[in-house]
């Protein structure tokens, strides 16, 4: 945990920096009183990031509303769009962005983002650009990583697995040595993880060519991942508890689970659930199917949209850009919310020279993140990800409970996603 003193030091620094910015822009017309922008976000401590902006921009004041959780923000935005009271700016996860675009909520932000491709991390650029139009200013990327307990691995004489075969072997060794301990859990409620693992294996669950969409959820690449995990579940060498549940939190804390297929945002979550294991975790790249061609999937991440109903779109775009690309905002974000910025300039900031406090034993943590970004695959999310993920959760819960093939569950998801898209009026290839 950062101490209060370091926090305020960074804030003071950021304030000083923004004061310079303020001195720089003096030509704005302040005749009509300040423009007020409403901004929705679920990021922790976002108020402190916005305070930096408000201090520097007396003409454009931003009011933050944090009463929205990441998972509900789409539902809330859809309702607000209908009521005609959308905020000016909002955060959204990448997988929900397409649904915000088709519902005419996310506006074109190309005039601030259009020329920033070279300054933006590749995965984030792909996730926010559709048909050559930028619909969001990307905030961060989330390179997939494997986190494991170094003490437990050392005890059993296992090295960090670099291939999925080694990973399976590690699962067997650990469970054989102690039947109460598992290398991992296969969580039926984590479609995001399974999607990312499938992407790593080469699957594109949604893709668009011309005006038609194609859906490949039950194809060979995803099937390979399904067979692999079904094998481990059948062998009984991985647990099947759901993630983000009390049972899972307890398992992380008491050492029942000794690794986690997570992403760059994982350390604070482990810290929250198992603070006493600080210093025992190590992050490595995901195990690979083929070592010569490393790949990683997309595991979360979010960006900032300007809505179509904003009365001050220009100022809103300016704020959205500042929020995700300026040094002072990113410094505050890194300090308070542990992000890995999509803006490449942000990656050289001092805050990222050191690993997250929970991973203090691994100084190269962010170098690893940057490396993984290099081979993260290009991903397109479709317009009905939420429905697809929900079907995934139910289908895989059933498959685990009834011992039915995982490939059948994938078929169920694909059928449902395709019929959903067809109902909406899309052409499916």
């Amino acid at each position: 945990m950062p101490t209060r003193r370091t926090r305020s030091a960074v804030l003071t620094g950021a304030l000083a920096a923004s004061a310079l910015v303020l001195a720089g822009c003096s030509g704005s017309d302040a005749d009509e009183g300040p423009v007020v922008l409403e901004y929705w976000s679920w990021a922790p401590n976002i108020e402190q990031v916005v305070a930096v902006w408000n201090e520097a921009n007396p003409d454009i004041q931003v009011e933050v509303n944090t009463a929205v959780a990441g998972a509900e923000i789409t539902a809330k935005l859809l309702a607000a769009a209908e009521a005609g009271n959308l905020p000016d700016v909002s955060n959204t996860t990448y997988d929900n962005l397409p649904s915000l675009i088709i519902n005419d909520i996310a506006a074109d932000v190309s005039d601030v983002m259009g020329d920033r491709e070279a300054e933006t991390a590749g995965p984030a650029w792909n996730l926010t650009t559709f048909g050559g139009v930028n619909y969001a200013v990307p905030q961060g990327t989330s390179p997939q990583m494997l986190f494991y307990r170094t003490d437990v691995f050392a005890e059993h004489g296992i090295e960090a697995p670099t291939t999925w075969d080694e990973y399976a072997q590690a699962a067997r060794t650990i469970h054989a040595a102690d039947p109460d301990t598992y290398l991992a859990t296969f969580p039926a409620n984590d479609a995001q993880l399974f999607a990312a693992l499938s992407q790593q294996a080469g699957a594109q669950w949604w893709s668009q060519s011309g005006d038609a969409w194609s859906v490949d959820i039950a194809g060979d690449a995803s099937g390979q991942v399904a067979d692999y995990w079904e094998g481990l579940v059948d062998e009984g060498v991985v647990a099947t508890m759901k993630t983000y549940t009390p049972e899972w939190q307890a398992a992380l804390a008491d050492g029942t689970l000794v690794s986690w297929l997570g992403a760059v945002w994982t350390p604070p979550l482990i810290e929250q659930n198992a603070p006493e294991t600080a210093g025992l975790w190590q992050a490595v790249a995901l195990p690979q199917w083929t070592l010569d061609a490393p790949a990683a999937g997309v595991m979360g991440g979010s960006g900032t949209i300007v809505t179509t109903q904003s009365d001050h779109p220009e100022q809103a775009r300016e704020f959205a850009l500042w929020l995700n690309t300026s040094d002072e905002a990113l410094n505050a974000y890194i300090e308070h919310a542990n992000i890995w910025p999509a803006a490449l300039s942000g990656r050289d900031l001092d805050g990222l020279a050191e690993p997250p406090s929970f991973m203090a034993n691994q100084p190269d943590f962010y170098d690893l993140a940057a490396q993984i970004d290099e081979y993260t695959v290009e991903v397109t999310w479709g317009p009905n990800v939420a429905a697809g993920f929900d079907t995934f959760n139910n289908a895989f819960s059933d498959a685990i409970a009834n011992g039915t093939p995982f490939r059948d569950a994938l078929e169920t998801v694909e059928t449902s996603v395709v019929s959903d898209l067809e109902t909406l009026g899309y052409t499916i290839e």
């Binding site: 005419d104 559709f130 049972e247 317009p383 929900d390 959760n393 059933d398 685990i400 109902t423």
Partner: protein
């Protein structure tokens, strides 16, 4: 003459004036929202334009109903609802009646305490109750598992597929018994003591007194609480919805109300959710009227004849 007509017209207006507040409230709070939901259920968004396209709201007739009713997850969710109701309704009713009769029979200082302690769970919000019981079911923290282990018994699987319906029903019963009991107990206290005296003089045992005299006389109370319990069963939502994260056996389509919630707020299909909401409302109303009809013919019908 003129004063007479004006008085007459005033008289003719009077009932409507008296009805107005109720009518306005009913329209604003009931008819309009239901009408809006019906309107919604007949519309949907469709995509126009290439690529991602733009969604437009169009009239689709009964398409949402056909789609919702044709979904593979709907029938199982009604099945689970039925399973839940079969456990929940009789147990909650019988326990409430037994507690009410016991409290009515025993006159001691403990009565007041027992009455309150049976009633208190009703005051505990469903979400809190579900969390509380959820942790008692959860392997790893469950006290029942410790007890079972101490006795050398197999660990009960509260959250697995086999036990989950009963586990959820148990939470709901725990919350519902107190409310039903208080209504039945009040009905019992309202019965005249002379009846009991007469019965006792005729040689009626306490058991016979309860079964032959008290129970038939509180039938109206039983019907009322029965109705509430059935409607409560059809609306079950917060208990399973809270336990979703605790059990692999509960999906987001566990009972019909959860399907509505899921469609409206997780998968963002307000139109399908509206259609399903209308279907569930119709089913609930039909079930309530049917039960009420049967019960009234049995109970009140004979009463009015006598």
């Amino acid at each position: 003459m003129t004063s007479l007509t004006s008085r007459r017209s005033r008289l003719r207006l009077a009932p409507y004036l008296f009805l107005a507040p109720a009518l306005i409230l009913a329209t604003a709070l009931l008819t309009v929202p239901i009408g809006y939901t019906v309107w919604r259920s007949l519309h949907a968004t469709r995509i126009t334009g290439g690529g991602l396209g733009v969604a437009e709201e169009v009239f689709v007739g009964i398409e949402n109903y056909v789609r919702v009713l044709g979904r593979a997850d709907l029938l199982p969710s009604f099945g689970r609802l039925l399973g839940f109701a079969v456990i929940f309704v009789p147990t909650a009713m019988v326990l409430a009646l037994v507690f009410a009769l016991l409290l009515d029979n025993v006159s001691s200082r403990l009565t007041r305490f027992s009455r309150i302690s049976i009633f208190v769970p009703y005051a505990v919000p469903g979400v809190i109750a579900a969390l509380m019981w959820g942790f008692m079911y959860l392997p790893g923290v469950s006290p029942f598992h410790d007890v079972a282990a101490a006795l050398g018994l197999p660990r009960p699987d509260f959250l697995g597929h086999s036990g989950i319906i009963a586990s959820i029903a148990n939470i709901a019963i725990w919350g519902a018994v107190g409310f039903n009991m208080v209504i039945l107990y009040t009905a019992l206290r309202g019965l005249p003591n002379e009846l009991y005296d007469a019965a006792r003089i005729d040689g009626c045992s306490e058991w016979q007194l309860a079964i032959r005299i008290k129970v038939p006389l509180v039938v109206p109370g039983l019907i009322l609480t029965g109705m509430f319990t059935v409607i409560g069963a059809l609306q079950v939502f917060s208990e399973p919805n809270t336990m979703v994260t605790l059990s692999t056996a509960i999906g987001s389509d566990w009972v019909p109300m959860m399907v509505v919630y899921r469609d409206a707020f997780i998968t963002n299909d307000l139109y399908g959710a509206s259609a399903l909401a209308i279907i569930i409302t119709v089913v609930t109303l039909a079930a309530s009227f049917l039960l009420l009809g049967i019960a009234q013919r049995r109970a009140f019908g004979s009463e009015s004849r006598s």
